[in-house]
Symmetry: C2
Subunit: 459 residues, 2 copies
């Protein structure tokens, strides 16, 4: 079996031990999506090791959610801290009975990286939950503005318990074609990427706008792409002003990930900010996959150069926890207990997040990712020039290591890559997405790129 | 300030240090619902200690979610284990890359307490998420049966991405008046307890059935209560057969908790099982608050003596993690990745759950709770006999420590109880609910009951 530098493949994939373990698991837990079973004790840094002893360079990173490498020392220290032991053994209802440390865990962690202009936080447990909480904040803000200083009336109170108007109003969140915002009933109603996520599940009658379909290379299609973005912006505004009910929020990924790594220019996002401000809709930047440094900025929306920030920014994945940031006090609901639940996140994971942030800032990993991304992109450009029929629409220049390309058989390519020791992921219809960790260094580039040369050269 | 045995109250509540900490927190995180700030390092067993040094007997237990006491030794051991360190530092996408230990963490933990007849599990992060996953399983099952062996067709695939029929079908989940099933957009559509949870949030047009309003004492109202339950069952069947779209699932709490601690008899639940089986609807027992022993059975639905189990049982809170159990293989969706998300729960919390289960089984805490509950109920009966105008509709006999009563000013009573060192909760409109941990012993009964005598005697 081949060995690429620090990668080793000893067995077929999945190997016999992986298969046996998966078979046992499948008797109690749906294991059909298992790629291989992992020995996390042997995994380290950028390398994931399976139970058959195969060692892969991991540029998929648990669906883009490992920030600073397997068995990172700073994270292990946090995991072993007395603070963590207490958070695990004494799980609080954070909204009612926070620990004396809670405020400082937030201040010394998540609030250190709060997007510019957003000074409040609400914690959650998944990206899907974070987005739904953001939608609820947007709905409550809209109704609060409508209501003015008036108290809730009897009709509102009674009708909402019956799921009927006016207490349960018809209001909408707009999202984009090919977007992915999660799998809850609200977040799934805004997800538009694949039928496998949505089929058979009831959804809200909410609108979707077209997301720009840019042509690559960008420098050869400047006019077309500008026109495309302008048309999409017009459509956003048209839908927002003509939908059968008020559209109170717009959610957008800075780079559509699950839907195929689709990019748009800062001008497009500036346009969204202008339209949402004009029509008093809440602009939600879904940074679940783009946040925490992979694009070479801590937040991908930093690249937009907005004059005023998105109203809400949601996060999860590399944060190892989830939640949303916001700036406008009016997004805090009119009464306590409206945005609330038993746990409101998990302090244990928020402590891990604090360690992740410390590691990112101390080691300057965002800057490193920007630098490494530039070199990685250049190498992939050379590969694309050599194999233009196999590497198409290379994208992500200037976006750190958040790079992707289209290829005829993305699933086949990923399988072949795994067989020579590189764990890599797909998205959209025929896209290969790179999601290395923030500790991916220049020295790892040749391991990844040489494997691609080998696999594509053999096609 | 008064002191009741092992409780101590030194300051007003919240005390000055609590208030200062809450004020700091409120500048970044909505802290309006904070009762007091906790020193979890000083809290132990049934006693919670705040930052002002006040020590309370805790019979609210983080909204019914602390199972085996603060700083429980078995839980601390699990929190410090190498298995935990790895689970925290290497958070997996469990569906794609499970650890080699994952199957045994489930087998040696959650599967040991799987409800009779339910041999599969899906893990989640909150009760709300667990319920929504259950609804999705119910919707996919219904469509799968309708579709038979046919593959998904183009119209279904395309329409679901537009949130329109037939891919996004009109299908419903039925719930009961006064129920609480969570706060996501699907779970909130089934929650019917309070306007504060629901007002201004769009919801699905799903039906609610009346839940029996039993009269107490039960032995004096046998005929009325039997008639009431019969009428509710008839209404369930009437709605199920006449609703404007198929009702594919029915969710019910064994004891409605948030909605006021409303009980029904085993016969009522047997009736629900019969109706749902007759109409091929999925019966979901929401054991988020009742599960894990507090009713004197591991699962509250054990009290129902069903001939066949609920189709799905959801759990969270005392489990310290969340998810659902099921038995019918057809509830596993037709394809992989349909019931899926990045993390699918959190192995760190599932490891804590394994420790909770070990502690419950080793120490026979369910049996203890049944025993202690009987004595606690007897003491409260005496209290109710002495103060019939203040303790009304005492309920929960034979349901472990899951006991509640109505009183004129439940919020006031809870405030007064806190001021003499007992942390206790409310629910519904005017109900006081007892939610002690499973380690609540006979010796704690007088502390709680004497405090009630004192507070009620002074009214």
């Amino acid at each position: 079996m081949p060995s690429f530098a620090e990668t080793t493949v000893r067995t077929e994939i999945p190997g016999p031990i992986s298969k046996a373990n998966t078979k046992r698991l499948d008797t109690i837990f749906d294991a059909r999506a298992v790629h291989f079973v992992v020995d996390y004790n042997k995994s380290e840094g950028n390398y994931i090791v399976d139970v058959d002893g195969n060692r892969y360079l991991d540029v998929y990173a648990q669906i883009a959610s490992i920030p600073v490498g397997y068995n990172n020392k700073t994270l292990i220290e946090a995991a072993k801290s007395p603070e963590m032991t207490s958070a695990l053994a004494n799980r609080p209802a954070v909204g009612n009975f926070p620990s004396d440390q809670w405020v400082d865990i937030l201040r010394d962690g998540l609030m250190k990286v709060a997007p510019k202009g957003l000074s409040y936080i609400f914690t959650a447990q998944s990206g899907s939950e974070a987005n739904e909480l953001a939608y609820k904040a947007a709905f409550m803000l809209y109704s609060r503005r409508q209501r003015g200083e008036a108290e809730w009336n009897e009709e509102e109170i009674n009708s909402c318990l019956e799921n009927s108007k006016p207490g349960s109003p018809e209001l909408a969140i707009m999202s984009f074609k090919n977007s992915f915002h999660g799998r809850g009933f609200g977040s799934l109603s805004t997800t538009r990427s694949k039928a496998v996520h949505k089929l058979d599940i009831p959804s809200f009658n909410w609108p979707q706008a077209p997301f720009p379909a840019l042509k690559y290379p960008l420098e050869e299609h400047v006019e077309e792409n500008t026109a495309e973005e302008k048309q999409c912006l017009e459509e956003v505004e048209r839908i927002m002003t003509t939908w059968h009910c008020p559209v109170v929020g717009l959610i957008v990924e800075p780079i559509q990930a699950e839907g195929g790594d689709n990019h748009a220019s800062p001008a497009f996002f500036q346009g969204l900010r202008d339209i949402t401000r004009k029509h008093s809709a809440v602009l939600i930047a879904d940074e679940v996959q783009t946040g925490f440094g992979a694009t070479g900025s801590f937040w991908a929306h930093d690249h937009w150069n907005l004059t005023s920030p998105p109203d809400i920014v949601t996060f999860s994945k590399k944060a190892q926890t989830a939640g949303y940031f916001f700036g406008n006090e009016m997004l805090i609901p009119d009464k306590a207990y409206r945005q609330f639940n038993t746990w409101i996140g998990d302090p244990a994971r928020v402590i891990m997040c604090k360690a992740v942030i410390k590691e990112i800032l101390d080691k300057k990993l965002v800057e490193q990712t920007a630098y490494v991304g530039t070199h990685l992109y250049a190498e992939l450009s050379r590969l694309a020039a050599k194999y233009p029929e196999h590497i198409q629409n290379l994208r992500g220049e200037g976006q750190g290591t958040f790079i992707a390309f289209d290829t005829k058989d993305s699933a086949g390519l990923v399988r072949s890559m795994r067989h020579i020791g590189v764990n890599i992921g797909t998205c959209g219809k025929n896209t290969v997405r790179l999601r290395p960790m923030l500790i991916f260094e220049e020295k790892h580039i040749p391991i990844l790129v040489n494997a691609l040369y080998k696999v594509i050269g053999a096609l």
